[in-house]
Symmetry: C2
Subunit: 160 residues, 2 copies
């Protein structure tokens, strides 16, 4: 997981830079025809808080971004989407290699949830998208990737 | 930097969860009276790209969030602000402990830049805030913390 690289600064000096290799992930903003979205809440051990986030997860072996998005949305919320639009690819901390692939999911129908063992305490909340966006902008959502995904979704949907 | 914790799942099963301990950081959105902001561009070794971001950096020993924000803004851009407003505290990857403290900086005056050695190749760009926000929403800015900071700044400033 850790990798020590030797890098060069502009003045020619060298240094060791520690890179943390982590898998890519997919983040999904579901958007219902009536203007609702879905957030999920999970305990985050490293943060010592329970966090509201958009449905998301890391790639399984061999998955592509859209496959991961479809699987995570179904596992966490039971939702199946007919349309996926990319909201771009973003990065977190400077020392992490993993990218987050953001998606807007529309044309939604509900099926059964199928949470992973570690997701069985997850809460699922359907709410107006505008309320979720407000929570992202005013601080109730603290997960930066979720804030980014919700803001880009609002822009893509041309919401005020 | 790495810490292996034993955690319990809702079904009672135990597992090891690897936490990466990293320092807190401050992210600053400078906002000039004429509606301009400043972005900085830096090579990101772990991402293998050059990235446009808001001025930011990690806490020095014993610093509080506002001190770090003031120091990083001055070092990277030469700007001094008379007013700082909190835009909240956000988190990145689930396995990281470090928090990002977001600030809006107003009442700006310019002094000399004082970049760290590793920042000497940094480009500094003053541009209309609305252009930076558009770059955050449309994908030219890939750093999720910077996207979050710019979107929350737009909301705090009540920009359309």
């Amino acid at each position: 997981m850790l990798r020590d690289d030797v890098i060069s600064f502009p003045d020619g000096a060298g240094a060791t830079y520690t890179v943390v290799e982590n898998p890519d992930s997919a983040f999904v903003v579901p958007y219902f025809d009536n203007g609702d979205t879905v957030l999920v809440r999970q305990w985050r051990h490293a943060w010592d808080i329970s966090s509201w986030e958009v449905p998301a997860g890391t790639f399984d072996e061999g998955e592509d971004p859209a496959e991961c998005a479809r699987r995570e949305l179904a596992e966490e919320t039971g939702l199946v989407a007919t349309r996926y639009s990319s909201l771009g690819v973003v990065r977190g901390a400077a020392f992490l290699t993993g990218r987050a692939h953001l998606f807007l999911a529309e044309g939604l129908t509900e099926s059964a949830r199928n949470p992973e063992t570690y997701e069985q305490d997850m809460e699922v909340l359907r709410l107006p998208f505008t309320h979720a966006l407000q929570a992202a902008l005013e601080g109730q959502i603290v997960h930066s990737g979720s804030v980014t995904a919700l803001c880009r979704a609002a822009h893509a949907l041309e919401l005020p």
